[in-house]
Amino acid sequence: MTRQNPAIYFGKKLFMFLFSVLLLSIIVFYISRLAPGDPLVSYYGDRVEKMSPQERIWAEDKLGLNQPVSIQYICWLRNALHGNFGISYKYKADVTEVIRGRIDNTLLLGGIGFLFIFLLALFLGTVCAWNEDKLLDRLICKAGTITSCIPEFWLSLVLILIFAVNLKWLPSSGAYTVGKPNDMGDRILHLILPLIIVVTSHLWYYAYMIRNKLLEEVRADYVLLAKSKGLKKGSIMYRHCLRNILPSYFSLMAISVPHILGGTYIVETVFSYPGIGTLSYESARYKDYNLLMLLCILSGILVILCNMIAQIINEKIDPRVKAGRREQG
């Protein structure tokens, strides 16, 4: 196999990345402008209905909405390249500021959730594969199937009903108690229920994946050879089987990042947790163009980046992929 120059390899990837982001921004821009709805509502609220035509034209002119879409896009792109993404119509502030105020919360929730999911899935999947078809495995599988069926929002409601409304152990909304934004303990208390929801709603999907991949791996012939050379069951599992599935698990988890972060959206809504999720929904609903653009591009970057990481993991770490490419060319 001919070895590729790493500079060229990453150069290509970088080019693909920038190109995809550009393409994404064009698509989002056009779709959002062409979709029905009145952006002025988000800026002026209910006043829009009372506006005279002249006022409307003036307002649209002020927001740069009366030009053809392509000109608007070029304007936006020029500003964006200088780091100016415009103002949010609703919050009347620079969109970067608006997002900055919320992104920490989402990252905290999503990040911790991701970590939990990543480790727990690996653990549960391995435990299940180890005890294949035994009672423990069956129990975990049953429980997993049930949790994966429960709609997130309903589980949130039930947990709130139990822990917040009836038992009054945990708070039911917000990221912190009003007036105490720096109290760590309080923040953690607020995080517990949302975190449980985020983790349970994704966990089984990945754990089950691990379980199935491991079971496939355990049926491979090399396991017999490893066994016949005198390795213990445990070391075959960890040194051979688990190791072999890790690359594909990593790449899967890379793709899962946007899913998990995006999945926090429902949780944020139910728990009135101030995060990016609610923001994106509002911006789409009320045609807050600039905010929507930046949010879409940010999530687009995340998606593309994660996809690329997954691809690189696949291509660089797993010798089997290399072998496959060698055989096909």
Binding site: K227, H259, N307
Partner: protein
Amino acid sequence: MNTSFEIAGIKQVPKEEPELKKKWYYGKPVFAIFFLFFIVISCLACDLIMPKDPTYMDLSNFNQSPNSEFLFGTDTMGRDIFSMIWSGGRISLWIGIFSAIISTFLGILFGAVSGSAPQWADTLLMRLTEILLSVPGLLMVLLIQAVLGKANVLSISFVIGITSWMSIAKVVRIEVRQLRNSEYVIASKCMGGSFFHILWNHLTPNFISSIMFMVVMNIRSAIIAESTLSFMGIGLPIETISWGSMLSLSEKALLTNSWWIILIPGGFLLATLLCITSLGNYLRRNVNQKNSNL
């Protein structure tokens, strides 16, 4: 002296088939099928079951806990939850099936095109699918629905349908690729089998089993998506009763600790989803009976 030592030569020995002790329902999700059947029939025949008009807001009897008049209680707007369950279930199931049809159709179309296209087109189409797949599905539905504005049953099925075809497309593509190179298809081609002959006799039977699971699972995720959307207030309006829109009242219910408004519709929703899932898992259960080497 002993005739048993005569040469008998080759004789056919009647083969004793070991009797299978397993009952016919062994390994089949009997309970799930019965329950699903029960729900579907009841929802279809809801006009006969419902004791009250599910849309009638009885303001003198709002937020009643379950009692003999209102079996499952009433919601915050005074509607009878027992009646709502059946008429709402009809809408939820209908949305699930309708969007599953849309997504299956799109998935098969896209997968078949990608699977039979030349290499470069296949790569392009699959990259697109992967990108779409890595965008959180619900978020995509939310954004599209938010842009479209007010929803009705058809529009919501449509939105859910066009955002959930990707995984079917992937499966179909792999299946098509494999089948295209399988020897019995080559053999059939050699014998002069036309495209439609091969499609009908060879591809379809092999296809259906691998797709059924995905279709069932799509029904499930469509029902989840609808209920989530309606709960958020961007799906069906409160007046259109579905299990999701019934739950959209639950924030008010939380304030008054009216558990039945949350637990009863949700319980029915969950039970239905579980049944669908076990049905799907049964369809997927593969024939591969290879044993573990560990």
